[in-house]
Amino acid sequence: MAEVLFFLAAIGAVAGAVGTVALRNPFYAVLALVCHLLALAALFLLLRAEFVAAAQVVVYAGAVMVLYVFVVAYVGGQDEPLGRAGGAGLRLASALFAGALFVELSIAVLGSGLSALGTEGAPLAGVTGEAADRGFGTAAEMGRLFLTKFLVAFEVASLLLLIAAVGAVILARRRSGLEDPREISVADVMRGSGGTRIDAPKESMLEAGGPANR
């Protein structure tokens, strides 16, 4: 049973990956990546990583892909024109490179001589005592690890998310000419010019919210 599920999920994941690379319309490429992510979540479940699979589906296939779809719709998901700059030669060289990379990675992994590679993983059923209560890959175990052993990594990850969110807002804000007095610059924010912001709260909200109606 596990074999059948593994091959179904693996074929789905590889097919989604090929679709992402091969489909010419970016919109369909995003949808193929969603299929790939769902199949990958099934593989994670087969590996007993319940929480990672749930995070994969909710965060990745849910939130991040919706963001992608919105940006594709905003930028315009036109088909990529065929036969320019490089063309068949580049495609052949890329396929050769990918094949060589696959062979090399397979040799590196399978030839590493790890004795556990041929097994189905460490035994989990026979675990007793405290470890059996915690479980393997459950949300409780992940939370315990995050707040004890990997607390620094957890905090750094939250800081990284904050920096990325602020950076994305600053990058994607309106820049229709610097003469626009409503433009928010980083220097203004640093100087703490609160007085001018209070004068025009509606306009300053529009800066981050996309195209203004003017």
Partner: protein, 99 residues
């Protein structure tokens, strides 16, 4: 299934993603292919975590998930900024850094 199968699938997905980064010209699709490569690394990490019966590899996979989300946010912000300056959405035509 033995661990080798998972690792081979991971290597295959990574190679497909690398080929996509080389072949495609739309920066949106290049970002998608980088996602593919990060996911392949995630699959290998989770497989190794299962191999050792230890949750640490899954924590690593979750951190990779966070980094991928940050990369998407900044990358899509860059693409939106490029689009607003009326520049072509094509990496072959965006070779100059002087803007």
């Amino acid at each position: 299934m033995s661990m080798q199968w998972y690792l081979v699938v991971s290597a295959l997905i990574f190679s497909i993603g690398a080929a996509g980064v080389l072949v495609r010209r739309n920066p949106l699709v290049i970002l998608l292919c980088i996602e593919l490569m990060l996911n392949a690394a995630n699959l290998a990490l989770v497989a190794f975590a299962r191999m050792h019966g230890n949750g640490d590899g899954q924590i690593f996979a979750l951190i990779v998930l966070v980094v991928a989300a940050c990369e998407v946010a900044v990358g899509l912000g860059l693409i939106v900024a490029i689009f607003r300056r009326r520049l072509p959405i094509d990496v072959d035509e965006l070779r100059g850094l002087q803007g």
